[in-house]
Symmetry: C2
């Protein structure tokens, strides 16, 4: 399905919520990402939409909407997005259109102001009830860099260009941005050590990823045709696949990452819809000459022609010393999701190609998004060459891997002439000491 | 915790449900496994206990029980075991004792007959709401055999004797015994082929495993001491980790099994409690001289002295031709869970050793249980030497891997002089053609 541009993408539309019209806002009226929030600690979580620095309580605004949109708005009383997801893409799109009109400066319903909560006052929670979490490995630059670190003689394996490699992650330990992460303990063994020992990870890392939620399920035994695969996606977020490299390196053969990853995964609270991202597909990446064509079940001319989502992804670090000194976080990398070898449609089609069922609320991660150059690599494993080339920080400190008290902050946005900037907000967490 | 033997283990106790007293019964009054059933298609699922060839509707029997047991019985009105699990081991044990007394021939409450449903008439459903599914690799015999098949030069990897290797499986595709499994499609490449192709798996296999459910949760960031690890387990079942060997072989590097496994996992409907299995621990397996001792966080003298659970596990096959001819299923293997290198306590302690949270209803699998000899290997990959040595069937057919229409049946039981036989029932599924 090609998502058509419509009035919700009109860059001239402004909101009566003035903060949404500021040039650098992540959440202009053209974005309208969904999330789950508590207006205050006494109230239950419910679905809201971000507009500027405010959150609209959608269910509370139900009386403003007519017909089928009212049904979608009512589904936003739930403490996660799953109820809204279950209504399907037409309902999502209808609700988005109604929100865009109702929040517009010209013809909006200004009585909705009573249902706004300042984002700074709200508690944002995990947006979906996640059944299963799957993490891909879609960036060929990351796969090559990481492969070189773990297998110098054999970085990119023969299957890489034929299928989007993935593994199952841990759903229970996914947390929303702002939740501190405790440094994991685990077994690790340095090359020069004869035997492993158990203790706090010495090589804690982030992985800069794009996450996406399944909104349209598939049944066990059914496959999903590549041309329809993107239609199953509700929306996108930032995702930090925290990785204890020493634990991972010791444990991962032959069955893949386990304790090196499953102690925590952090996601941003706002889920940006496919419709909001429709203007930002570009054919940035083409398979180099000589690479195999995708097998038919992963090949879609329309998908390839539209290309990847040109979402700029950034990772920042603020050490404890920097935060105390009021120093701004240091940017470590900036990359684009459009550089990945596999598109999200290919990832979804592959996931269901054996009949595995996808459920509403399932979370999929892209894998670390690294671009071709060092300035665009998506993990410290790559950026610091496994810690051998530490990164200087403005505080005079340096970092090969993450230390206790460090905060990692991801940001993401789409920008293009003729369109409003679409932001993802932030995905952040401070690392606490082990134990 | 050591589970003390008590009156519920008394081999002399008989039930007024006569079928429970038959010598070969899987479900004597000393077993009392929990499951979820629908008495008929018009009614909602609820928790029951197996007694002979009958199922007792526990919630319906609540008025027979006094005090705190009534609370546990009421939790059995739920459509999965999670509510009962959440009450904790004392509640499970109290309910078991009350059921043992109430169903006994001598002093039982025969009015409970009104709450019995013949097992043959009931529909048994998935016993738990499973959040995450983790599969281990605890049999060193299987790890060596399977390693040899995929990596002839390097079958057992250096980490194997230091940690119970595991990976995350797919929770959404776990199904209860009796649910047919469709042959998966996928990418596979024979050694002599230059490129992979997509189509029905040519090497469909079973893996004979023991499953266990978490009943006592742990919090994110907390570890579980090895001495307390077994206390987190509610009970055990049979588990078939269906595996498409050709898909797995092509996809699994570097991140582990994914589509080769996640199309289906089958579990038996009855969950046998730790208390019922308490008499059957034996020190059958000891680490060979020269093997490293477990690191302190995985070492527990009591656990090692008590040894593994001596559960006999069997796999049978009935081809379509055999079923039509009325031929009994052919036994393919018989093994004991006590031969695994790692105990269930070690698996649980390892899983939480990095702070990963375990949730009520989580399913853990042991990995294929293979013993030292060919007669005790737990998969066709091993039994047929990757299909090169097909197994003759009584119908004159032979099988290297599973063909369409074949039914795989697992059975499990504990038997020991001086104790009643504790059975697991069956875990079975027929393979349907792909497409």
């Amino acid at each position: 399905m090609t998502i058509a541009l419509n009035e919700t993408h009109d860059p001239a539309r402004r909101s009566f919520v003035e903060s949404a019209n500021a040039p650098g806002s992540d959440f202009p009226i053209q974005n309208l990402p969904f999330g789950v929030f508590c207006p205050d600690t006494k109230e239950r979580p419910r679905v809201g939409v971000a507009i500027g620095d405010q959150i609209l309580d959608i269910a509370a605004a139900t009386p403003s909407f007519g017909g089928p949109v009212a049904g979608a708005a009512k589904a936003c009383a739930a403490p996660h997005l799953n109820e809204l997801m279950s209504l399907g893409p037409q309902a999502w799109s209808g609700l988005r259109l109604a929100l865009s009109r109702s929040l517009s400066a010209d013809h909006g319903d200004k009585s909705l102001r009573q249902h706004l909560t300042p984002m700074a006052q709200a508690e944002l929670t995990l947006p979906a009830a996640i059944g299963d979490f799957t993490d891909f490995y879609a960036s060929i630059f990351h796969a090559t860099n990481a492969g070189r670190a773990f297998r110098p003689e054999n970085p990119l394996l023969p299957n890489y260009k034929y299928l989007p490699v993935a593994y199952h992650g841990r759903a229970s330990s996914v947390r929303v941005s702002g939740t501190a992460v405790k440094r994991p303990q685990g077994q690790r063994k340095r090359a020069e050590e004869a035997v492993p020992s158990y203790g706090p990870s010495r090589n804690l890392d982030f992985e800069l990823e794009l996450g996406f939620y399944i909104g349209v399920p598939s049944r066990l035994g059914d496959t999903i045709p590549i041309a329809a695969a993107a239609d199953h996606i509700f929306g996108f977020c930032l995702l930090n696949d925290w990785s204890a490299r020493d634990v991972q390196g010791w444990e991962y053969q032959p069955l893949g990452p386990f304790l090196g990853k499953n102690f925590a995964t952090t996601v941003s609270p706002w889920v940006v819809t496919q419709e909001a991202l429709a203007p930002f597909r570009i054919a940035a990446f083409t398979r180099p000459d000589g690479d195999p064509a995708p097998l038919p079940h992963l090949a879609c001319a329309t998908d390839q022609k539209q290309g990847g989502l040109d979402i700029t992804l950034e990772a920042y670090m603020a050490t404890d010393v920097m935060r105390r000194a009021g120093t701004s976080p240091q940017r470590l990398t900036q990359t684009s999701f459009a550089t990945t070898y596999w598109t999200v449609a290919q990832m979804v089609a592959h996931h269901a190609s054996n009949g595995c069922d996808l459920a509403i609320g399932d979370l999929l991660g892209s894998g670390t998004v690294s671009g071709p150059d060092k300035s665009s690599w998506g993990s410290l494993l790559e950026l610091s060459a496994r810690g051998r080339e530490p990164i200087p920080m403005p505080s005079g400190e340096q970092r090969g891997f993450i230390e206790d008290g460090d905060e990692i902050i991801f940001r993401g946005f789409c920008a293009k002439p003729g369109f409003a900037r679409i932001g993802f907000g932030e995905c952040r967490a401070v690392i606490l000491p082990a134990g």
